[in-house]
Structures are given as structure tokens and as C-alpha cells.
């Protein structure tokens, strides 16, 4: 198991190197000149040349890439072109906000979706099932930003339970976390239901029931463990989706996270920030998948590493 984890961590390195090359090339090859975007269309040539030189953009592309790699080995992501601040410092200020949001959304997703899916499966073809799955279909279909505005309208403007937007504590976190996690929760709930239904009819579950075990014991101790395997697979994917979805939710709820930062940085061709964020997101997604693989071993006795 530990060997497997070590192997996976080592395998991250070439993946990350490939990510740096791809991202570096993409952001440099698409049209758009960060120095011009800083100076402005009407900005003078002298100011433009000065900014280019200050940012090292006057050097050939491969030198820019190797100096980026060199800095990376020293755990230095460079300096933001737009904000003239260390990328690590910028990310240190913004990343916790995004992690807080995606983490809460993930917790909401699973806390809400797993009981809902189990309930729908256990009470299948009843009103509870139809209601839960109806809710799940709405969840999958509704765009997160729109749900965000609906939540603001109901819970912040009419009921005054939560603030409209901003950050600074758990009351600021509830609405964005629900808006972000709801789509994923719907998917997980549907998956949970179908997966549990499949397991409920298998021989070993029937045997457990025949042995005279209580119904909920059969569900929780025997059926659920196998039924959770596809849900764990989803967890790895969910991390990536949530980080992507955070971009929109952070803008709607005015949370200063990396989502807002990356949008602005892409518009402004702020290469070091885009590279830095992509690298960190790549690590997050890879770690999310690794976590899912480890959880496989925990939930599924057949899986051995």
C-alpha cells in the first residue's frame, strides 16, 4: 500500500512537468501581450518597452520557460505580471478561500447526497423516491450560478438568514457551498440510488436478509460497502469539477479565491499566475484521484495494492 502511494506520488512528477510545458505553450502562443494589456492600447512605446523588459518578456520563449522551471525547483512561482506580487504570496492569500469553498461544497455534496440516494433506493417507487430523484434531476440541470442567485434571493434578500456576498466566516460560506455542491450532489445521489439497488438484489444481500439480520443492518453493513465503490470513483472527479465550478461561484458570491484570480489572469495574460494556479490545481486533481484510489482499498476488500 505505502509502496503504491509512493509510486503514485513519483508518477505525479512527469505529469506535472507535462502540465507545465502544455500550459506554458498555450498561454504564450495564444494572441495577447501582457505588457500591452498592462500599459493599455493608448500607452506609449517607451512605457511598453520598459514593462516588457521589467517582466522579462523580451527574452526568447525557451529562456522564459527554463527560468520558470528553475524558479519552480526553488518553489518560487515567479512574480505576477499584473499585480507585481509574488505568485506564491498571491496564491497563499487566495487559495485558502477556494479550498474552504470547495471543501465545504464537497462535504455538502456527500452529506446531502448519500442519505438521499440511500433513502431513494430503500423507498424505491414511492413518493420519497420520486421526490428525491426529481430533486436530483433539477440539481443536475440547474447551472450553479443561477442556483447561486436563487439562493441569494431567497435566503439573503427575503429571509435575511445569510449575507448576500463576501467572505469572513461560516455564514458567508453556506450559500456558495450549496450552490457549488448541489449539481455534484444530484449526480452522487442518483449514482448512490442505482448502485445500492443493484447490490440489494445480489445473492449475498439476500443471504444476509435470510440469516434474519435487521433490514438496516443489511443495508448499512453489507450492501452499502459495495454500493459505495462507484461513489468513491466519483470523488476523484468531483474535486476537479468543484475547483472548476468555483470560478463562477466565486464571481457570483464575491469570494476572493483562485477562481476569480485565474479568470482575470487569463484575460490579462498573466502567465506566471496562470501557470502557478494550473500547477496547483493539477496537483489537487491528482491528489484527489489518489485519495479515491486509497479509499477503494478501504471500501473494497477485493482491491489490494
Amino acid at each position: 500500500m505505502y509502496q503504491y502511494i509512493l509510486k503514485r506520488v513519483l508518477m505525479m512528477l512527469p505529469v506535472l512537468l507535462a502540465v507545465t510545458i502544455i500550459v506554458f505553450l498555450i498561454v504564450h502562443l495564444i494572441p495577447g501581450d501582457p505588457a500591452r494589456l498592462v500599459v493599455g492600447e493608448m500607452g506609449s512605446q517607451q512605457a511598453y518597452d520598459r514593462v516588457r523588459a521589467e517582466l522579462g518578456l523580451d527574452k526568447p520563449l525557451y529562456i522564459q520557460y527554463f527560468s520558470f522551471l528553475d524558479r519552480l525547483f526553488h518553489l518560487n512561482l515567479g512574480k505576477s505580471i499584473v499585480y507585481r506580487e509574488d505568485v506564491t504570496k498571491l496564491l497563499a492569500a487566495k487559495l485558502p478561500n477556494t479550498l474552504e469553498l470547495t471543501g465545504s461544497a464537497l462535504i455538502f455534496t456527500y452529506l446531502f447526497a448519500i442519505p438521499l440516494g440511500i433513502l431513494a433506493a430503500v423507498k424505491r417507487n414511492t413518493v420519497i423516491d420520486y421526490l428525491s430523484m426529481g430533486l436530483a434531476i433539477i440539481g443536475v440541470s440547474v447551472p450553479s450560478f443561477w442556483l447561486g442567485f436563487l439562493l441569494i434571493s431567497l435566503f439573503a434578500i427575503h429571509l435575511h438568514w445569510f449575507p448576500i456576498a463576501g467572505y469572513g466566516g461560516i455564514k458567508y460560506l453556506v450559500l456558495p457551498a450549496v450552490a457549488l455542491g448541489f449539481g455534484g450532489a444530484a449526480l452522487v445521489a442518483r449514482m448512490m440510488r442505482s448502485s445500492l439497488l443493484e447490490v440489494i438484489n445480489q445473492d449475498y444481500t439476500v443471504t444476509a436478509k435470510a440469516k434474519g439480520l435487521r433490514y438496516w443492518t443489511v443495508i448499512t453493513k453489507h450492501a452499502l460497502r459495495n454500493a459505495l465503490i462507484p461513489i468513491v470513483t466519483l470523488l476523484g472527479l468531483q474535486v476537479g469539477w468543484l475547483v472548476g465550478g468555483a470560478v463562477v461561484i466565486e464571481i457570483v458570491f464575491l469570494r476572493p479565491g483562485v477562481g476569480r484570480l485565474i479568470v482575470k489572469s487569463i484575460y490579462m495574460r498573466d502567465f506566471p499566475v496562470v501557470q502557478g494556479i494550473t500547477l496547483i490545481l493539477a496537483v489537487t486533481v491528482i491528489l484527489g484521484n489518489l485519495l479515491a484510489d486509497i479509499l477503494y482499498a478501504v471500501t473494497d476488500p477485493k482491491v489490494r495494492y
Binding site: 493608448m42 500607452g43 512605457a47 492569500a93 441569494i152 434578500i157 464575491l254
Partner: protein, 526 residues
């Protein structure tokens, strides 16, 4: 008897004084102490944060700088040039020497004097290395005669000087601070002599300013001649229009610059919000590359001007938050000229037929076996994409096939250097006639600023003449010729003037704004 008369006269005087005080209080609102006590923090919502707060590095509008930096000259709401740190000025008969008399005792917030030497340094520094060097390209030298007298010696007469000196980019910075912070100036510090002092910049989120307690040199057209009333001002960057609107309605934001057209009716219905609408200084237009077929034919370009139903776009795309555009200059800017173009697809078809374009069996225009098929570029901003879509369908009605190609705002500007553009939607924001020189002078083709790629010796000649005219009247006269000639040549289809819609909480008093800025000096919470 005498004593009684004296007492009666004294009584009258006392009553008159008392009435005067009451009248003055009513007229001016509550006194400074009350205003200051009520006015703790003001939150202003903007859409995008600036890349830097240094006018020497960026030529983009940066609202907080208007409160941090003073200028030599200000422009009031009626667009008249008024005093700022210069109390008066005069121009020599030959138009080559401008003398400015500065207010005494003006200080930068770092404790250094904002005198004639400091202003001269700013002008020369901007001219030689700054992003808005064009502001002072006519300046040969700036001389501090004494601490309160500044002379600008020009190479040629330049009647537009007051416009440039009052521009958003002409803010005066502390030379000591600019030298001290070097590359970091505008990032970690910016020092001026304005009513507010830079305190904090949380990148991508907000900029905080604190009141300058020593500020007593405000423009004479402001009622408040002392420090501002609000202690703290927060410029909050809120990209999402709905969020901005909701925060204003909830009282979390006090002023919204540039209200989204979709939010106007909702805000107007809110009793706690005041919505102000003015004509603004922006123009949305469709440009055409005059060097590429089919737009190398002036008749085709003129036809395009008859195809567009500007009134319909104003109503249906922009909810009437602005007005249809027929001129190349924005509504407040002279010289306005009479445009011959109205919505007339029939006339467009006639002009296209004259240019050799006839409809084939599929209803598409053709010439020498070539279909009239173009690509229309647009930046991926919802309203502008909607304009492009309307234009596409209006072109289809006369038999033109237009394909829309969207670009992200970061790429869009750079694409024009390639010269591959055929037709494109753009917006400009400016309120001076020299914008025509900026967009149509052939010397700016390679830099991608002259996007229509007009290379016209007559225009170039007129631009040189206009910029060297000794008086504003003569300059305006030459620009009128330019403007009329451009309408005839039709490199653009002017489409829409977006209104400048601002909204603020009704508990604010002393609201005073120009096209560029909401002046904070008079502003207080009731």
C-alpha cells in the same frame, strides 16, 4: 430715546445674523461635524481592478487615482476647465508659453511640497518615459519660475493643453515617492496631494483610501473647501452585474459606477437608490478593413451604414440605456456633424448593386463569381455579441453572409496587428476630437490601433494641421473637415452611444460627478 433706537438696531442685526445662519444651514445641509460623524466608510463598486496605480506605467482609467492625485486643472460637470492645484493660468499671444499660478501650501501626503518644481518634474517624466507621453508631446520644457509659478514652453501652439492637463492620466505624483519606490511605485505605494491617501490594495478585491486630513486646496467649484467628509473609501471590484446590484440594494455598496442596462429598471424602482443617467463618452461601432475586399469599395462601406437599424439595437439590445450613434465622436464632443445615414436597406441594396454586387439564386450577393461572405470579429462580451448577431441578421436581409468570430478580451486587441480583420465590433471611451487622429492616422496601422487600416494622405495631412492649430476654434474647424470626410469614406458604422448610468444610495448627500469620476469631496452620509 437714542438708547432705545440703538437697542432696536442691535436687535435687528442679531435677528438678521440668526436668519443668515439658519438660511445657510438649510442651504448647505448639516455642518461639518455632523457630516463627518455620519460619514465613516463609503463603498464604491467598480467592475475591474487596475493593473497598476502608476500613471507612468498604464494609460488605463484608474478611478481611485482621481481621489489620490490632484491635477493642475480640473473639469467640472459642465465640462468647463476650472482650477485644481493651479488657481489660474494664461497663454502668451503666440500660444507657445502657458503660465500657471499654483495654490500655495499644497503638500503631498508624504510631507513633500507639491510645488511648481514637482509639477514640472511630473510633466517631463511623463513626456519622456510615461505611458501617456502623448499628453505632453507638445511640451518643449517645463520650468518652475518660483514655487507657485510654472511655465510650459511648447514646441507648437497646442490649444488642447487644458484637456490633457485635466485628463485622468495627468495626476501629479510625489517625485520623491516615484524615485523611492522605483518599479514598485503604483504597486505598493502611490503618493499624491488629493483628498484621499492610498492605504491598502488587496489585489483583485479592493483598494482602501483614507481621508487626507490636511486637504484644504480643493477645486473652487466644490462646496467643501476642507478635507473630505468620509473617513474611509473602499473601491470594491465586483465583476458580476447582478451581485453588484443586489449589494447596492442591500446597502452594502454606496455607489455603482456603470450600472448594467439590465439592472436599471430594478434600481429605479428602489426608493433607497438614485439612478443617474448621462450621455457618457463611449461609442460602439463596427469597423471595416478598407484594404481588403469587399470593404475596399467605399460604396460597400456606405451601404453598410444604411443596413444597420440603430434604433432597434438601442431598444432591443441595450434596453434604451443610451442612444443610437451616427457620429464618430461621442455626444458631448465637438465637432458634431450631420450624418447622411439612416436605416434604409433599399438604399444599401442600390449602392451594393452600383458596386457590382447582385443577388444569386440563393439570395446571396455575388460579384465575379465570389459570394459576399465576411467574418465579423467581436470580443466575447454579451452585449457586443448580441450587436454582432443583430448585424449578422441585418446583413443577411440584403444578401450578405456574415460569420461571427468571438475573441476573449485578452486576445482581441492583439489580433488587429495581424491585419486579417474584415469587419469588427469595437468600443472606445474618449471625449476629445483627437480620437479621430488616434484611430485613422496611417502611422498607427502597424501597432494595430488604426484598425480600419486607413492610409489616406489627405487625412494624415489634416491631422498634422489640426494638431498644430493655434486656437481651439481653428482646431475644431479642421477636425470638422476630418469628421465629414470620414463619414463620406465610412470606415466605421457608428452604432450606439452607451449611456453613463451610475447609481447611489439615497442617504448620500453632496453627490457631484463628471463623466470621469464621482467627486468625493462634497459627499457625505445624511
Amino acid at each position: 430715546m437714542l438708547k432705545f433706537r440703538a437697542l432696536r438696531a442691535l436687535g435687528v442685526v442679531v435677528i438678521l445674523i440668526a436668519l443668515g445662519v439658519v438660511f445657510n444651514t438649510v442651504a448647505q445641509g448639516p455642518g461639518r461635524t455632523i457630516k463627518e460623524a455620519n460619514s465613516k466608510t463609503l463603498v464604491i463598486a467598480l467592475t475591474e481592478g487596475p493593473p497598476t496605480l502608476s500613471v507612468f506605467t498604464t494609460a488605463q482609467t484608474t478611478e481611485p487615482l482621481e481621489d489620490i492625485l490632484d491635477k493642475l486643472v480640473s473639469r467640472d460637470a459642465q465640462l468647463n476647465y476650472r482650477d485644481d492645484i493651479a488657481k489660474s493660468w494664461e497663454v502668451s499671444a503666440d500660444g507657445l508659453t502657458w503660465t500657471f499660478h499654483l495654490k500655495p501650501g499644497v503638500m503631498f501626503s508624504d510631507g513633500t511640497p507639491c510645488d511648481a518644481a514637482a509639477v514640472a518634474w511630473n510633466i517631463i517624466h511623463m513626456r519622456d518615459t510615461g505611458a501617456s507621453a502623448y499628453l505632453y508631446s507638445a511640451v518643449k520644457d517645463a520650468v518652475a519660475v518660483d514655487p507657485v509659478t510654472l511655465k510650459l514652453i511648447l514646441k507648437t501652439p497646442f490649444p488642447n493643453m487644458l484637456y490633457n492637463l485635466s485628463s485622468s492620466f495627468a495626476g501629479i505624483n510625489s517625485p520623491t515617492a516615484v524615485k523611492k519606490y522605483g518599479k514598485d511605485y503604483g504597486v505598493t505605494a502611490v503618493v499624491g496631494s488629493g483628498p484621499y491617501i492610498f492605504k491598502e490594495w488587496v489585489k483583485g478585491d479592493h483598494i482602501t483610501l483614507e481621508r487626507n486630513p490636511d486637504y484644504t486646496w480643493g477645486p473652487s467649484w466644490m462646496s467643501n473647501q476642507g478635507p473630505a467628509y468620509f473617513q474611509t473609501v473602499i473601491y470594491k471590484y465586483i465583476p458580476e452585474a447582478v451581485t453588484k446590484t443586489l449589494l447596492l440594494q442591500a446597502g452594502k455598496v454606496d455607489i455603482v459606477y456603470k450600472v448594467d442596462p439590465t439592472a436599471i429598471s430594478m434600481l429605479k424602482a428602489d426608493q433607497n437608490v438614485i439612478v443617474l443617467n448621462s450621455s457618457g463618452k463611449r461609442l460602439i461601432y463596427m469597423g471595416m478593413n478598407v484594404t481588403k475586399p469587399p470593404f475596399d469599395d467605399v460604396r460597400v462601406r456606405q451601404a453598410m451604414n444604411y443596413i444597420v437599424d440603430r434604433k432597434s439595437i438601442t431598444k432591443n439590445v441595450f434596453n434604451d440605456a443610451g442612444s443610437p450613434a451616427y457620429n464618430y465622436l461621442t455626444p458631448n464632443v465637438q465637432p458634431q456633424v450631420e450624418s447622411p445615414y439612416t436605416y434604409d436597406p433599399q438604399k444599401a441594396s442600390t449602392l451594393l448593386a452600383e458596386a457590382g454586387w447582385t443577388k444569386n439564386s440563393n439570395g446571396i450577393l455575388e460579384k465575379n463569381g465570389q459570394q459576399f461572405a465576411i467574418t465579423l470579429w467581436v470580443d466575447a462580451i454579451t452585449a457586443r455579441v448580441q450587436v454582432a448577431t443583430v448585424l449578422q441578421s441585418e446583413m443577411a436581409e440584403v444578401g450578405i453572409k456574415a460569420k461571427i468570430q468571438q475573441f476573449d478580451p485578452g486576445s482581441y486587441g492583439a489580433m488587429f496587428k495581424t491585419g486579417k480583420q474584415q469587419a469588427f465590433i469595437r468600443l472606445y471611451e474618449w471625449d476629445n476630437m483627437d480620437i479621430l487622429e488616434w484611430f485613422f492616422n496611417s502611422k498607427r496601422i502597424d501597432s494595430g490601433i488604426n484598425k480600419t487600416r486607413m492610409n489616406n494622405p489627405l487625412l494624415d495631412f489634416l491631422f498634422v494641421k489640426a494638431e498644430a492649430m493655434p486656437t481651439l476654434e481653428e482646431r475644431t474647424f479642421v477636425y470638422r473637415l476630418v469628421h465629414e470626410y470620414l463619414l463620406e469614406q465610412s470606415p466605421w458604422v457608428p452604432i450606439f452611444y452607451p449611456a453613463l448610468v451610475r447609481a447611489y444610495r439615497s442617504d448620500l448627500g453632496g453627490y457631484k460627478a463628471t463623466l470621469d469620476h464621482v467627486y468625493l469631496l462634497d459627499l457625505y452620509r445624511k
